[in-house]
C-alpha cells in the first residue's frame, strides 16, 4: 500500500517574512542598479524633485495670498455690516422710548412692535430680518435675566469666551472686535467655520448688551477648497509635464551616448570594424566622428601589433626548426665523443659529459619551443580517447620514479578504487602530470609527494601536493609564465626548460580544463588539474579542493578565515583562465 502523500510543507510566517525581506532587498538592489546605470532616470528624478519643490513653494505662497485677500475682504464687509447694525440698534437702545411712538406703533396692527415689547426683542427682530440666513446675531446681557437673544438656529455657545471677555472691556468709542476662524455651531446642522464680530451697546438705563454677529464662512471655505484642489491638480500636472519634458530632452542626448557606449563595448569585444553613424554637426555628431577616428586608429595599431607578433612567432618557429639540423649533427658528434670519453683525460671527459648533458637540455628546450610555437600558431590538436585516469596517473608516476629516487622522495597515491574514466588526450595529460611531478620533486625537498585523483559526475581532477618551500603570495599565477623562476639564483637541477608549466597550462586549456596552483610559504604547493569528463563540455567546478584540506582545517581552527566548503569558492581564487 502506498504511503499517503505528504502535505506540502507550509511556510512559517517567519519564513514568509524572510522571503519578503529578501525580495524587497533584491528589488532595492535592482532599482539601485537601474538608477546607477540610467542617466535619463537620474535627470528625470532630479527634475521631478526640483520642480516639485518649486511648485509646492509657489503653491503654498499663492494659496496663502488668496486666502488672505479673500478672508480680509470678507472681514471688511462683515465688520462694516456689523458696525452699521450696531449703530442702528445703539440709536434705538440709547434713547428712552417715547410716548408718542408707542401709540403709533400700537395702532399699526398686530404684527408690529408694541410698547409692551422688550426693547431687546425689537432689536433682535430687526437684526434677524436684516440678517436673514446670511449671518446670525447673538445678544447677551450679563446684568439682567431673560435679556439674551439669538437669531436663527445658531448655538450661542459659538461665541468664544475670550471674545466675550474682550468685548465686555470695550470702551464707548472702541472699534468692535473681529475674530476669524471660529467654529460656528448650529442646532440641528453641522458646524461651520466662521467669523465673529463683537460689539458693546449701553442702553439709556445703563444695561450693557453684547452684540455678536456670527458670519458663516462656509461658502469661502468651499471656494478656497476648490481653488486648493485646482492648485494641487495643476501643480501635479505641471510636475509630471516637466518630468516628461526632461525625459524627452534627456533621451535626445542619452540615445546617441548609449549608441556610442554600445559601439565601444562591441569594439572592446574585438569587433574593430564597429563605427557610429554621424548625423548633423552638433556636439554628439562630433563625438561620433572622434570615436570613429579613434576606432580606426586603434584597428590599425592592433593590426600592426598582430602582424609583429605573427612575425615573432614565425621567427621562433623558424629558428627552432633551423637549429634542429645543425643540432642533429652536433649531437651525433657529441655522442661519438661521449661514448669514447673513457679514453680521454679527466678534463676532456668531463667536458664531453657536460656537453652531452647540455645538448639534451638544448634538445628538450627546442622541443618545448616547437610545442609552444605550435600552440601560438593554433596548430595544436587533441587526440581524444576515453581512458581510465588512474592509468594515466600511474604511467606518469612510473616515468618520475627514477628522478624521485634520486631525490629520495616518495609518492603517496590516493586513487579511487573504481575506474575514473574521462575523454582526454592521454599523451598530453600524461605530460602535464609528468611536469607537475617533476616540479614537485624538484621543489619538494625530499618530502613526500601526495598525488590525489578525484572525480564527480562531470569532472575529474588530479592534485599534486608537495611540502617544499611553497609559493609566496601572488606567485600562484606567475608559475605558469614562460621561463619564470621562483628564485632566479637557483640553478636548474633537473631538465626544466622553464616552459613545462606553460605548456601544461596550454594543454589543460585545450581540454577545456583548469590548471591551478596554490601555495603558501612553508606549507608547500599544490597543483590541481581539473578536466571535464566529456570533451567539449564546460567545466563548472572541480571535484578536489585547491587548498589542501589539512591546511584549510588548520586555518578554520585559528579562525582567520571562515571555512570554505570543499571544491567551492577556491576555484576562482587562483583561477588561471
Amino acid at each position: 500500500m502506498p504511503a499517503p502523500a505528504k502535505k506540502p510543507a507550509r511556510r512559517s510566517p517567519r519564513q514568509i517574512a524572510r522571503g519578503l525581506r529578501r525580495r524587497a532587498r533584491r528589488a532595492v538592489r535592482r532599482a539601485r542598479g537601474v538608477w546607477r546605470r540610467s542617466l535619463q532616470l537620474q535627470v528625470v528624478t532630479s527634475t521631478l524633485v526640483i520642480s516639485m519643490t518649486v511648485v509646492v513653494v509657489l503653491g503654498v505662497f499663492l494659496m496663502q495670498s488668496i486666502v488672505k485677500s479673500m478672508v480680509d475682504g470678507r472681514r471688511n464687509v462683515a465688520v462694516a455690516e456689523a458696525g452699521a447694525n450696531v449703530t442702528t440698534i445703539a440709536g434705538y437702545l440709547e434713547n428712552p422710548p417715547l410716548a408718542g411712538e408707542t401709540t403709533k406703533q400700537q395702532a399699526s396692527g398686530d404684527g408690529a412692535a408694541t410698547s409692551s415689547d422688550n426693547p431687546v426683542d425689537v432689536v433682535a427682530r430687526s437684526l434677524a430680518e436684516r440678517a436673514g440666513s446670511r449671518y446670525s446675531v447673538v445678544i447677551r446681557n450679563e446684568m439682567a435675566v431673560g435679556e439674551d437673544r439669538a437669531t436663527g438656529n445658531i448655538d450661542w455657545r459659538s461665541v468664544p469666551e475670550k471674545m466675550r471677555d474682550k468685548v465686555r472691556k470695550l470702551g464707548p468709542l472702541d472699534p468692535p472686535y473681529a475674530q476669524v476662524g471660529v467654529p460656528l455651531h448650529y442646532l440641528g446642522k453641522a458646524p461651520e467655520i466662521g467669523m465673529v464680530v463683537g460689539a458693546k451697546v449701553v442702553s439709556y438705563n445703563g444695561t450693557v448688551y453684547e452684540i455678536y454677529h456670527l458670519f458663516p464662512l462656509g461658502e469661502e471655505e468651499r471656494t478656497l477648497s476648490s481653488i486648493r484642489q485646482l492648485l494641487i491638480v495643476v501643480g501635479a500636472v505641471l510636475v509630471l509635464l516637466l518630468a516628461a519634458i526632461a525625459s524627452l530632452v534627456t533621451r535626445q542626448v542619452v540615445t546617441p551616448v548609449r549608441l556610442a557606449r554600445q559601439a565601444a563595448e562591441r569594439l572592446a569585444a574585438g569587433r574593430l570594424e564597429e563605427r557610429l553613424k554621424v548625423r548633423g554637426e552638433d556636439d554628439l555628431a562630433r563625438l561620433a566622428t572622434s570615436f570613429n577616428e579613434m576606432a580606426s586608429n586603434l584597428a590599425v595599431k592592433i593590426h600592426q601589433l598582430e602582424e609583429l607578433s605573427q612575425v615573432q612567432r614565425q621567427f621562433v618557429s623558424d629558428v627552432s626548426h633551423e637549429l634542429r639540423t645543425p643540432l642533429t649533427t652536433v649531437r651525433m658528434a657529441a655522442d661519438l665523443l661521449y661514448e669514447s670519453r673513457d679514453d680521454f683525460e679527466p678534463a676532456a671527459r668531463r667536458s664531453a659529459e657536460l656537453m652531452q648533458n647540455q645538448l639534451e637540455r638544448f634538445e628538450s628546450m627546442l622541443a618545448d619551443l616547437l610545442e609552444i610555437s605550435r600552440y601560438d600558431a593554433g596548430a595544436a590538436t587533441l587526440d581524444l580517447d576515453p581512458v581510465d585516469m588512474r592509468d594515466v596517473v600511474l604511467s606518469a608516476i612510473g616515468d618520475s620514479e627514477a628522478l624521485a629516487e634520486q631525490h629520495a622522495t616518495r609518492f603517496e597515491l590516493r586513487l579511487p578504487s573504481e575506474p575514473c574514466m574521462a575523454e582526454v588526450d592521454s599523451r598530453r595529460v600524461e605530460r602535464i602530470l609528468r611536469n607537475l611531478l617533476f616540479n614537485a620533486i624538484e621543489h619538494g625537498e625530499g618530502k613526500d609527494i601526495v598525488v590525489t585523483l578525484g572525480g564527480d559526475r562531470d569532472a575529474v581532477a588530479v592534485a599534486v601536493r608537495d611540502h617544499g618551500v611553497g609559493l609566496k603570495a601572488g606567485e600562484e599565477n606567475l608559475v605558469f609564465d614562460r621561463f619564470w623562476r621562483a628564485d632566479p639564483s637557483r640553478a636548474r637541477t633537473i631538465g626544466g626548460t622553464g616552459l613545462g608549466l606553460a605548456i601544461s597550462r596550454e594543454d589543460a586549456l585545450l581540454h577545456g580544463g583548469w590548471l591551478q596552483a596554490w601555495g603558501a610559504p612553508g606549507e608547500g604547493t599544490q597543483f590541481r588539474l581539473s578536466l571535464p569528463r566529456q570533451a567539449g563540455t564546460e567545466l563548472k567546478g572541480s571535484p578536489l579542493p585547491l587548498v589542501p584540506p589539512e591546511v584549510e582545517m588548520r586555518r578554520s581552527w585559528r579562525g582567520h578565515v571562515p571555512a570554505l566548503p570543499a571544491g567551492m569558492g577556491d576555484g576562482g581564487v587562483f583561477d588561471v583562465d
Binding site: G132, G152, L187, G188
Partner: protein, 600 residues
C-alpha cells in the same frame, strides 16, 4: 542660410518678452465688456431657514435674588433651545422638580400682566412670589390656540422659593409653561395644517400654534406635525392619508424645489392615485405658507416618487381649496316671495324653476352650490325643509319634515350635497341631515341635548358646524367638528366662541370661509354689531356696526346683510359691506331680504 547668430536670437527673445508683457497688461481679470443688467437684490432669506429670534436660556446665576430666579425660570420656559427643558429644571427643586410638566400645556399671559404686581411674602421656610395677570390664551399639547382675550380671565401665579444651600430655587411652580404674549409671538408660529376630508377630495384646515424648533426648518416642523395626524378637535372629522409610521428623513433645498425624503412606508401611496393626489395637495397647501412659489418633491429613501410626487406645486391643487368659494360669487336674495339672483346688469333676475315661482311660500333659502341649476333648500310654510332645483319644471320636495309642534332651523348645505337642520322639540334637540327625502339623525354632544338651537350652519367644507345655542342662560355661539366615521354622523365636542351675556342677543351666524364665522349680535345697550371669529383659535376682530341688519351671509371677504333701512321704515333691503369705506352699501331695495351665498 539662417544661422544661430547671437543678435538674431536676442532680438527674437526681446520680441517674445514684449508680446507677453503687453498681452498680460491688456486683458484685465474682470471683464470690462459687460452691459447693464437689472440688478436684483440677492434674497437674504433662505426659505428653509426663515429669520426668527430665540430667547437664550441661561442657567441660574450664583447668588441670584429670588426675583431673578423666577425671571430666569420664565426665560428658560420661553426658550426653544432646550426641548427637554433641562435648563428650566435647574431652577426647580423638590416638589416642583418632580411635578412640573412642561408638556401639559401653555398658559399665555398678557405681556403687561405678570410683571406688574409681584407680591412677596417672606416667612421662615422660604418665600412666595405671586404674579397677577390676565390670561390671554391657552395652547394645548396639540397646538390648539385658545384665545381668551375677550373673557378677561385673571389669575395668580404663585411661585414658592426655598434656599438650597446658599442658592434660591423654586420649590413650587404653576403647572405647565407660563409664557407672555411676547414670548408666543417670538417662539411660536401660527400655521394652518391641511388634512384631506373623509372623501379625500378636499382639504380641511386646522389652525395651530407651533413652537419654533431651531434644530429643524419650518418645513420639517410642519411635515412632522402633518405626520402626527389631526389633533383631537378634528380626529374623525378628516381623513389621514399619510401612511402610519412614516417618518421624515430629511428636507433639502434643490434649486427652486424642496425635497422631502420619507421612510419606506411612504412608498405605498404611490400605488393609489387618489391617495397620492390627496397627499400632494395636503403637502402643497400646508407648505405653501412657508415656501410659497416653490415646488415640492417627495422622495422615499432618496428615490423620487413617480408621477405627481416629482414636482408638487400649490397652483396645481385649486380644487382642494378648503374655503370652497373663491372670488366673486353669485348671491341670491328673496323679494316678493321668490328667489332672485343678484346680478345688477341683468336687473337681478328671478331664478328658474320652483324657487322662482310662487307655487309655495317659503323663507330662509339656502343654495347648494355655485352651478346655475343648483338646488335650493328653504323652510316651507308648514315649517318643513323643502328642496327644489333652479331648473325649469322643478318642484318642491319635502326632505326633512320634523315632528309636530317642533320648529326647524333654516336649512344649511354642505359641499357633499346634504341639507342640515336642527329640530327644536320641547326639551330635546335633534339635528338632521338629508341627501334626499330620507333624513338621517345626527348624534349630538350631551351638553346640548336639551338646548334650543336658533341657527345651525354647516361650514362649506362640511367639517364643522356653528350653532346659536340657548341652554337656558342666553344664546351663545358654539362650534364643533362633524365626525364622520363609517357613515355615522356625529357632532364632536363643542367649543364656545361667544359666551352668553346678560342682555346679549345673537341674531345670525354665517361662515366666511372654512375657519371663520361672521356673527351678528346685539349687546345689551341695543348696538347691533358683527364680528368675525376664528373657529380654530377663537381670535376675533374688532366688532363693526351693523345697525338694522337682521340676517347675514358671507363668502370670503364679501358680506351681505338683509335688514330694514334706517331711513324709510319697514322696507327691507339687501346691503353689502364696503370694507374700504367701512360702510354698508345698498344692493337691492324694496323688500329684498334674506341674501344668501351658496353653501354654508
Amino acid at each position: 542660410m539662417w544661422t544661430r547668430s547671437g543678435p538674431v536670437r536676442y532680438a527674437a527673445a526681446a520680441v517674445a518678452a514684449l508680446t507677453l508683457a503687453g498681452g498680460g497688461a491688456g486683458c484685465a481679470i474682470i471683464p470690462t465688456s459687460a452691459s447693464p443688467i437689472p440688478a436684483k437684490e440677492e434674497s437674504n432669506s433662505d426659505p428653509l431657514n426663515a429669520a426668527y429670534v430665540r430667547m437664550i436660556a441661561s442657567t441660574p446665576k450664583p447668588g441670584a435674588q429670588p426675583r431673578d430666579i423666577v425671571a430666569g425660570f420664565r426665560a428658560a420656559m420661553a426658550s426653544v433651545d432646550d426641548p427637554d427643558w433641562k435648563i428650566a429644571r435647574q431652577y426647580l427643586t423638590g416638589d416642583a422638580l418632580a411635578g412640573w410638566d412642561p408638556e401639559s400645556g401653555v398658559t399665555v399671559f398678557d405681556s403687561a400682566g405678570p410683571k406688574e404686581t409681584p407680591k412677596e411674602t417672606n416667612d421662615a421656610t422660604g418665600m412666595t412670589m405671586i404674579f397677577h395677570g390676565t390670561v390671554a390664551a391657552t395652547i394645548d399639547g396639540e397646538g390648539r390656540y385658545h384665545d381668551l382675550t375677550l373673557s378677561g380671565v385673571e389669575r395668580d401665579m404663585t411661585f414658592g422659593l426655598t434656599k438650597v444651600g446658599a442658592e434660591w430655587r423654586i420649590s413650587s411652580a404653576p403647572p405647565g409653561l407660563l409664557l407672555s404674549s411676547a414670548d408666543i409671538k417670538r417662539a411660536y408660529g401660527a400655521f394652518d395644517l391641511y388634512y384631506p376630508d373623509i372623501s379625500g377630495r378636499w382639504l380641511v384646515a386646522d389652525h395651530v400654534a407651533i413652537p419654533i424648533d431651531p434644530s429643524e426648518s419650518q418645513v420639517e416642523t410642519l411635515v412632522r406635525w402633518l405626520l402626527r395626524g389631526p389633533g383631537r378637535s378634528l380626529r374623525g372629522a378628516v381623513g389621514n392619508v399619510l401612511p402610519g409610521g412614516t417618518r421624515l428623513i430629511r428636507v433639502a433645498a434643490d434649486g427652486d424645489s424642496v425635497i422631502l425624503d420619507f421612510t419606506s412606508s411612504m412608498a405605498v401611496i404611490g400605488d393609489r392615485l387618489d391617495q397620492l393626489r390627496a397627499v400632494c395637495a395636503q403637502l402643497a397647501w400646508t407648505l405653501n405658507q412657508v415656501i410659497p412659489g416653490q415646488s415640492i418633491q417627495i422622495q422615499v429613501n432618496g428615490e423620487p416618487l413617480p408621477g405627481d410626487g416629482r414636482s408638487i406645486k400649490w397652483q396645481n391643487y385649486p380644487e382642494f381649496n378648503p374655503a370652497v368659494l373663491t372670488g366673486d360669487q353669485a348671491a341670491y336674495f328673496m323679494k316678493d316671495g321668490v328667489l332672485h339672483r343678484m346680478d345688477h346688469d341683468a336687473g337681478d333676475p328671478v331664478v328658474e324653476g320652483a324657487p322662482g315661482q310662487k307655487t309655495m311660500a317659503f323663507t330662509s333659502p339656502a343654495v347648494s352650490g355655485t352651478e346655475r341649476k343648483a338646488k335650493v333648500a328653504a323652510l316651507g310654510d308648514d315649517g318643513a325643509v323643502y328642496v327644489a332645483s333652479m331648473s325649469e319644471d322643478s318642484r318642491w320636495d319635502k326632505w326633512i319634515g320634523g315632528t309636530k309642534g317642533s320648529t326647524l332651523t333654516p336649512p344649511s348645505w354642505d359641499r357633499y350635497g346634504a341639507v342640515w337642520t336642527a329640530e327644536n322639540i320641547a326639551g330635546e334637540l335633534r339635528v338632521w341631515t338629508a341627501y334626499g327625502a330620507a333624513p338621517q339623525r345626527v348624534m349630538i354632544p350631551a351638553d346640548v341635548a336639551s338646548a334650543n338651537v336658533e341657527v345651525l350652519r354647516v361650514a362649506r367644507d362640511g367639517a364643522r358646524v356653528a350653532m346659536i345655542v340657548d341652554s337656558g342662560h342666553g344664546p351663545e355661539l358654539r362650534t364643533g367638528p362633524i365626525l364622520r366615521d363609517e357613515g355615522n354622523l356625529r357632532i364632536g365636542e363643542l367649543r364656545t366662541l361667544l359666551e352668553a351675556k346678560e342682555g346679549q342677543t345673537i341674531l345670525d351666524v354665517a361662515w366666511k370661509d372654512a375657519q371663520h364665522v361672521v356673527v351678528l349680535y346685539e349687546s345689551r345697550k341695543g348696538d347691533r354689531v358683527y364680528t368675525t371669529y376664528s373657529v380654530t383659535d377663537g381670535r376675533s376682530e374688532e366688532p363693526k356696526s351693523a345697525a338694522h341688519v337682521s340676517t347675514i351671509s358671507a363668502a370670503g371677504d364679501s358680506l351681505l346683510a338683509g335688514g330694514g333701512d334706517a331711513g324709510d321704515g319697514d322696507a327691507d333691503e339687501v346691503l353689502s359691506w364696503d370694507g374700504k369705506k367701512s360702510e354698508w352699501v345698498t344692493e337691492a331695495k324694496d323688500g329684498a331680504s334674506a341674501p344668501v351665498y351658496p353653501l354654508g
